[in-house]
């Protein structure tokens, strides 16, 4: 009914009109629930983290609570080797994960973007780990990695490696083992986003390139990749922030061990606040993490000239 009216009516002016009966405050009323929730449960906690970062605050040692100035920060930067270790590990984790996920995700997207028999099923299967949670991923890989009945046992049966190999409790294998587990879940994210962006490449460009005799590799390099650039920049950034912040997988898979070998900065912060009750110090570390994330994001967007001439 309404649509028929829309057709009959002369074309509406592009300018936005206000419905005559709409009260002025309506948009504010509409965003109010969202704004209040975010003020109360994001903005306020963030501010309180900044506040506590300048204080000594430990519920188990109330006699020491009070204003601390920048003590927490000097402690972190000058006297806490664990801060530097966990920060370095976080950087290594994020760079390795995001780079590998992007590489495999891009390759997968290009493959399932082709026309071939079984494409729909192939896509659904390839993307399926995307919705699996970090804890479930850990559960699955604990089953694969365990020393008695995991994959290593069957490899040993076949004469590869030795019985009782536990990749998660050996300091030399825990990093690649954890990386592979997180890759399993992370690659579909990139594959989905890149595949979505591939849909919008104009086919005329390829036809023109083909007329000019450009090879497939050249077409990829000069047409596909520039087209994907903004999507790649944005998705790598979002993923890097997410990989940095997310603690589900490592917390449940390795617990940060063995010997603190896989403790990221957020895991260290969680331990400091939850187990050691040192809220003041944990807040300072959180503030440092915020600043590092923000700084890296800005630098990354600048260096990659996001939203620049490419489109």
């Amino acid at each position: 009914m309404a649509q028929a009216a829309a057709v009959a009516k002369p074309p509406a002016p592009p300018r936005r009109r206000r419905a005559s009966a709409t009260p002025r405050g309506l948009p504010y009323l509409l965003i109010a629930p969202a704004a209040l929730l975010m003020l109360g449960f994001i903005a306020y906690p963030v501010l309180s983290v900044f506040y506590y970062s300048l204080r000594n605050y430990n519920p188990t040692k109330p006699w020491r609570n009070g204003f601390a100035g920048l003590d927490n920060f000097t402690q972190a930067f000058a006297h806490d080797p664990q801060f530097w270790d966990t920060l370095t590990f976080s950087a290594k984790w994020v760079v390795v994960e995001v780079a590998l996920q992007l590489l495999f995700g891009l390759a997968l997207a290009l493959i399932v973007n082709q026309t071939f028999v079984g494409r729909a099923v192939g896509r659904a299967l390839v993307f399926s780990p995307w919705a699996v949670s970090g804890v479930l991923t850990s559960a699955i890989w604990v089953l694969l990695y365990n020393s008695q009945t995991g994959v290593s046992r069957y490899l040993a049966d076949a004469g590869l490696g030795s019985y009782g190999t536990s990749w998660l409790s050996d300091t030399s294998t825990v990093f690649p083992a954890a990386v592979v587990a997180d890759l399993w879940r992370g690659v579909p994210f990139f594959a989905i986003l890149i595949l979505a962006d591939l849909q919008s490449v104009s086919k005329d460009l390829y036809e023109a390139a083909e007329v000019d005799g450009a090879s497939r590799l050249k077409q990829f390099w000069h047409i596909t990749l520039p087209h994907l650039k903004d999507a790649i920049v944005l998705s790598t950034l979002l993923r890097a922030v997410w990989e940095f912040n997310n603690v589900d997988l490592l917390y449940t898979l390795t617990g940060g061990g063995p010997a603190g070998e896989t403790t990221t900065l957020p895991l260290y912060i969680a331990n400091t606040s939850v187990d050691a009750h040192n809220f003041g110090y944990a807040s300072a570390l959180t503030t440092v993490a915020f600043v590092i994330l923000l700084f890296c994001s800005i630098v990354y967007l600048r260096l990659s000239k996001f939203g620049g001439e490419s489109r």
Partner: protein
């Protein structure tokens, strides 16, 4: 409807030029270059799934590589003895409540962002984007203190609120994009016909938003279903915990019962797999509608 019809003539006009062309280069990729890497990757994807099914279905202590003889003892054990029946109910409650709350609040906010110009709009949009950088995991302690003050520790409501809050910004950005795709003239026409803003929205815009709302709702549900830390921190009472917390408990005990862990994992996966199968097809089209490019 109108927007779908409009571009069609152009496509028809462009078509006749094509049939005579030779096959295009991107159709000529040798088949093995598709199937070989795809098969290798599928093995990597599917073996872990097979592994968990195997452990869940074969009897305890078996080392057979096929789940035969098949048994459901692990499922019974995990569901009753390990409390997964209760966890499942709690997870469903948290997931559905988060879905409803997120969708309703994001729909209201998204409509305001799509259809009005108001003074705080730019600032609000900026706040939405910035909130993407705020890690929920690092706000555990202040959030815990807030919920303690509200007397909501050990109540599922605390987890619902926390999940909703971190789900809201992205949902609102997505929904406002979907609303912008509905021509404003449709709504104006409804007002001419005597609808007020609310009824106009309900009978004209809402039906067209259904696919978008299903997507946003599914995301909210899956995230709430999967998320672990908030439930771990805010719910200490065993009868209040959710499935991811239950899985973590199974994993962190001294001698892990692998059969129970596998069965628990499958219980955790089933609803997500169903939702995923449901939305998978237009996950791609939903994203390429411009949502990601903002």
């Amino acid at each position: 409807m109108i927007t779908e019809i409009a571009p069609a003539p152009e496509r028809v006009a462009a078509e006749p030029a094509r049939p005579g062309r030779k096959r295009r280069a991107w159709d000529e990729v040798p088949r093995w270059q598709i199937y070989v890497p795809l098969t290798i990757y599928l093995l990597f994807t599917l073996i872990p799934f097979y592994w968990i099914l195997l452990f869940a279905l074969r009897p305890a202590g078996s080392t057979s590589l096929v789940p035969w003889p098949m048994t459901f003892e692990h499922f019974e054990k995990v569901w009753t003895e390990r409390g997964f029946g209760t966890y499942f109910t709690n997870s469903v409650y948290v997931g559905l409540a988060t879905l409803v709350l997120t969708t309703v609040v994001a729909l209201a906010g998204g409509y305001a962002l799509a259809r009005f110009d108001f003074r705080l709009k730019r600032g609000f949009m900026l706040a939405l984007l910035c909130s993407q950088f705020v890690p929920g995991a690092l706000l555990l302690v202040p959030l815990f203190q807030i919920f303690a003050k509200l007397q909501m520790i050990n109540s599922l409501g605390s987890v619902v609120i926390a999940e909703t809050v971190f789900q809201l910004p992205l949902s609102m950005i997505l929904i406002s994009g979907f609303i912008r795709n509905v021509p404003y003239s449709l709504e104006e026409a409804a007002w001419v016909d005597g609808c007020n803003r609310m009824t106009g929205f309900r009978i004209v815009v809402l039906p067209l938003l259904r696919p978008g709302l299903i997507a946003v709702g599914s995301f909210a549900f899956v995230h709430a279903w999967n998320h672990f830390l908030f439930a771990l921190m805010f719910l200490s009472d065993q009868g209040k915990q959710t499935i991811p917390v239950g899985l973590n408990t199974l994993m962190s005990s001294d001698s892990v019962d692998l059969g129970a862990l596998a069965a628990g994992g499958i219980i955790a996966a089933v609803p997500v797999v169903i939702v995923f199968a449901f939305i998978q097809k237009w996950l791609i089209t939903g994203f390429s509608a411009g949502a990601v490019k903002g």
